[in-house]
Symmetry: C2
Subunit: 273 residues, 2 copies
């Protein structure tokens, strides 16, 4: 039986712990909240406290800017044959941190596209990763380490998709961070204008749902890819101003063109890579 | 048996036709698309072509900037005791148009908050309005006309909520039009950056879903309340720039503050009116 060590038992780490345990792994885990550790142990998911010397695979499921400190703390006791991976939404910084600690050959960055607006152990569930794409950023890892990491993800039903870290961070700033920022800004605007969530229709609820996401997790993500998410927000502002100007000058063709462009995109789109 | 006349058999008009027929009304209807008229008749929902002289209640379910032309065409043959209402997302302009045609005493503006991103007769369904708030803007209508209109809406399960037209248009520019514009702008931004919808996770799909809305309907709505939706978009742009600046200067407290504000709003909100 292989042993996985998981740091962080939130939505993502907790769900991975559940699925790995169900897939036959022994799971050791640590969380800064003792109540989450207890709950995961009581649920029969976690077998005991994290012991880095005992694991075949170490998984960091912590806010992205805490990953380096975790690696520093655990690297000294890791077995030489253990692989290390993570679940963070940004990949360049954690690969840099792992390389700085001499872990490059066995650190394989991973990012499952399965998060949502709930958070914490109580939001974790089995099957969260089933069918979900998981981005794999090999960095300087050995082919064997990459294969072992992909195998771990396949064992919980995720679909590995290799991508260089820089390309990952560029794309995810648009795919994931930009919708988060848009929902947060929309919620703040409505809040300032005296609108409450129950005032919204189904469409408005969809558009603001992500505003409920965990602020700690997302502050880290946004700051960690500021160079990518900044220009992405600028692009969104430009689109909003284009539509606003068309409305202001009563340019029906331009307003219809913008609406039509969005509609064709969402109804016609196929994956770009 | 009372008779309703419905102009427009799209998502909203078609769904209202289904529910009124099920509630015991005789429904006469017109649509610019003969195929929609045939489908609604074949489905046993519509009893025959629209005859304004035969209806107790006339309902306009057309894009908001077509409402005036419909009223002009139908007003001369309407029975003096017929009430007239609509389903449009803006209310000041249609009330003005009705007043200009001498229909003020029996025109009652209505706006059920039940639309979504699908459109056309094929998207219509029974029960669309069940439990949905329906804004009622009496304008210059008689109390009897208001009561009869509210009774029509109650017969399909909607919950009438009286509101002056100006207040309606101010609030709805935020509750409904702003989320639509945000989703459209987000879709256009992602499209320009080479992202396709299947690249998105569940949160990104939520945030862009409204981009699929009918461009014809929404061009009318946005232009018809330009004075309200313009400032609402400006407010959203300001929020985006505030978050973008906080990210740019790596101000973790400000980024967390913005995320936290959105989260508290969406998790804590109760209706404001």
């Amino acid at each position: 039986m292989k042993t996985a060590g998981i740091v962080g038992l939130g939505l993502m780490g907790g769900s991975l712990a559940r699925d790995l345990a169900a897939a036959g792994w022994r799971v050791l885990a640590a969380d800064r909240d003792p109540a989450a550790e207890r709950a995961a142990t009581d649920a029969g998911v976690v077998d005991g406290p994290l012991d880095a010397a005992a694991v075949d695979a170490l998984v960091l499921a912590v806010p992205v800017r805490s990953a380096e400190a975790c690696l520093q703390a655990l690297a000294p006791t890791l077995r030489p044959d253990a692989v290390v991976t993570d679940l963070g939404s940004t990949k360049r910084s954690v690969l840099r941190a792992a390389a700085g600690l001499g872990l490059a050959p066995r650190f394989v960055g991973a990012h499952p596209l399965a998060g949502h607006h709930q958070s914490g152990w109580s939001a974790s569930r089995t099957g969260l990763f089933r069918g979900a794409p998981v981005f794999i950023c090999p960095g300087g890892a050995t082919p064997e380490a990459v294969e072992r990491t992909e195998s771990l993800w396949r064992s919980v039903g995720a679909v590995p998709r290799r991508i260089p870290a820089a390309e990952h961070d560029h794309r995810l700033a648009r795919v994931s961070q930009l919708p988060q920022v848009a929902a947060t800004a929309l919620a703040a605007t409505l809040s300032r204008d005296g609108i409450a969530p129950p005032d919204l229709g189904p469409g408005g609820r969809d558009a603001t749902r992500l505003a409920a996401s965990d602020p700690t997790v997302w502050t880290d993500i946004l700051l960690d890819c500021a160079d990518e998410v900044g220009p992405a927000i600028d692009g969104l502002v430009r689109e909003l101003e284009r539509i606003r100007d068309a409305i202001g000058r009563a340019d029906a063709a331009a307003v219809a063109g913008a609406l039509d462009e969005g509609r064709r995109w969402i109804l016609g789109g196929s994956a770009t890579s």
